[in-house]
Assembly symmetry: C2
């Protein structure tokens, strides 16, 4: 059974790929409704801070702390340090990760700080990243600061 | 003796205040030159992710990993989890913090991860924040996810 929210994050990743960008997408869900969605904007906007998760937060706009605290972040790829930090800043209690095979963020630190971390190990997410990394290794390294 | 880079970060914080925004500014310095500068954009752009540090990174644009690794981030206020994460993502080796009296981020975690953290305890930075927090407590709490 696929998850409609992870599907929406994957759709964002595919949209990013189709724009020539890095195929990572995310959606922020509150009470069962997607309130923000986005994908990595390094190529499209030349942005070093709009990753999937931060782009979804930007798209959601300003929300009260109480709303973040009952939200779930769905992201196609294990969050980097910056996006993990954004999740911690807003005390988002749960993150659903498409895959962590092609990149493993500091999931243990998220758990230590009280975030529930679920890894879907979704083949679509793995395929998107494997294809992208094979085609654009330099762009990928730039995105993760390597 | 004041530090020209911290002065530039303070100038960004003052510019933010004068726009009706949250008075936190930052500059990214590489080889003695300011390559990016910015201030919190919650009020001005309705942004939940453009804090001082991330705004300075955005303003600097896409940089090679090797450039971040010899840079210094100057910020008027102790970095929040998100901005600390951005510093870790790009392996920025040093952060100079204007003050950490009005807000203390996870400076210990930055140090654990190998970042040199210097706190200037600058009175201008403290005054900017104290005045702002007294005038706009709700806006401040929103910015730090409280």
């Amino acid at each position: 059974m696929t998850d409609q929210y992870l599907d929406a994050a994957v759709a964002e990743a595919i949209a990013g790929r189709d724009e020539g960008g890095i195929p990572i997408g995310a959606v922020l869900v509150v009470d069962g409704t997607i309130v923000g969605r986005g994908h990595n904007q390094r190529v499209q906007l030349g942005s070093p801070t709009l990753h999937g998760e931060t782009a979804a937060l930007e798209n959601a706009g300003r929300l009260p702390a109480s709303v973040y605290r009952r939200s779930v972040m769905y992201t196609t790829l294990s969050p980097c340090d910056m996006c993990s930090g954004a999740i911690l800043l807003y005390e988002i209690p749960k993150v659903v990760i498409g895959e962590n095979r092609t990149f493993m963020g500091n999931e243990e630190y998220l758990r230590q700080r009280g975030v529930e971390v679920e890894v879907a190990d979704d083949g679509r997410c793995v395929d998107l990243m494997n294809t992208f990394i094979a085609d654009h290794p330099d762009l990928w390294n730039e995105d993760i600061g390597v």
